[in-house]
Symmetry: C2
Subunit: 220 residues, 2 copies
């Protein structure tokens, strides 16, 4: 039996984060695509809702957690789990000033930026306000630009080759999927040279390359 | 000098979480109110933006982190920091199955439920779509009810006196501020008996009582 099964969607940022983390740690996994749009959204079907009543992807199943099955929801929890049990490389420092710097910057992206732009928010805005493609893009751009302005400032003090110094961290794992979304919705990245440059470097790393949405088997 | 200075706003859920955690750990702190509405929002003023370029509350300053100053953004990072350095009581289990259960449930609230209802999202909806008080309440209710339906299901398998078993955890710390928001925006809690009952118990605890928004010096 495969140890790791990842329930995910190719374009989901949170799924993309977990793919990067699994690849960085060189952990093979079986991908179980959950199509967020087909048939009213497969994340709402009973099979998946049993794994996550929140009906959001990703979910990682570890079939060998001390010989038992462990179901993990929430991308940041999944990556925390992987970090504790497969610490090479460690993505969140174990302790010290750097730990809190890394988790806070990752949360700036994963909590304050991304959820407002999630598919279900866009779907609700479309239903309630007849959002067309232009309105959608404007909504996305507004929040991404606001978040990136702050992030660009914060990174200027702490970045090296990567977001925090010269080791790949959880911040980088969250950044690349967010830049992918930014480009998808036409955000001009020129005001964010640090973000753009770190992201270019990261995108050459094989773990990031293999995690790219368009390379996933369910990409369409 | 006071060791802990908390930059916060009485009605901010994320600030409320940190107050509860500080109180549970019996750590005294100096409150520095940042008024999110006055003068265009004090969180945007230079004094605060230097502490958090993201211009969101809370920020905790520890003036004695091994003799140095440590500035911490993001409520979940702040609580993680407090847990590592002041572990009595521990709010997130150090390891094991329970750790990931607690962090994932807390993130269900802090990532997937709360940010969509944040003040700045409501302010943008008001500007863009002429949101009146009824539309605001409907928007809040929609996301809170969706999140609470899932949470109620998830808690049914794991709760005891509190959200996860019989010890207060990070989930409880996130739950009470979210229920406060639910009540503020007229969410009917009767479909969520587990949430309502745990919350009633928690609200009798002195650490939760002292953290209540209306008891804060900046409440108005």
């Amino acid at each position: 039996m495969t140890q790791f099964v990842l329930y995910e969607y190719w374009r989901s940022s949170a799924s993309y984060r977990v793919r990067i983390a699994l690849n960085l740690k060189q952990l093979p996994y079986l991908s179980m695509p959950i199509h967020l749009l087909k048939d009213g959204g497969e994340q709402h079907h009973a099979m998946y809702a049993e794994l996550n009543a929140n009906e959001l992807v990703p979910t990682l199943v570890d079939n060998d957690f001390d010989g038992e099955k462990l179901v993990l929801n929430q991308s940041l929890t999944i990556i925390d789990y992987l970090d504790e049990h497969f610490p090479h490389p460690r993505l969140t420092p174990v302790s010290g000033r750097e730990r809190y710097l890394v988790t806070a910057l990752a949360q700036d992206i994963a909590i304050d930026l991304h959820p407002i732009n999630n598919l279900r928010v866009i779907q609700k805005l479309s239903r309630d306000f007849d959002f067309d493609e232009t309105s959608k893009a404007k909504w996305m751009q507004h929040w991404i630009e606001l978040g990136f302005h702050a992030l660009e400032k914060k990174l200027s003090d702490v970045h090296g080759k990567y977001c925090v110094g010269d080791s790949i961290s959880l911040v980088d794992v969250c950044l690349v999927p967010q830049v992918y979304n930014a480009e998808r919705f036409g955000v001009d990245l020129s005001p964010f040279p640090t973000i753009a440059s770190i992201c270019s470097t990261l995108r050459e790393h094989p773990a990031f390359v293999a995690a790219e949405p368009e390379r996933q088997p369910d990409a369409s």
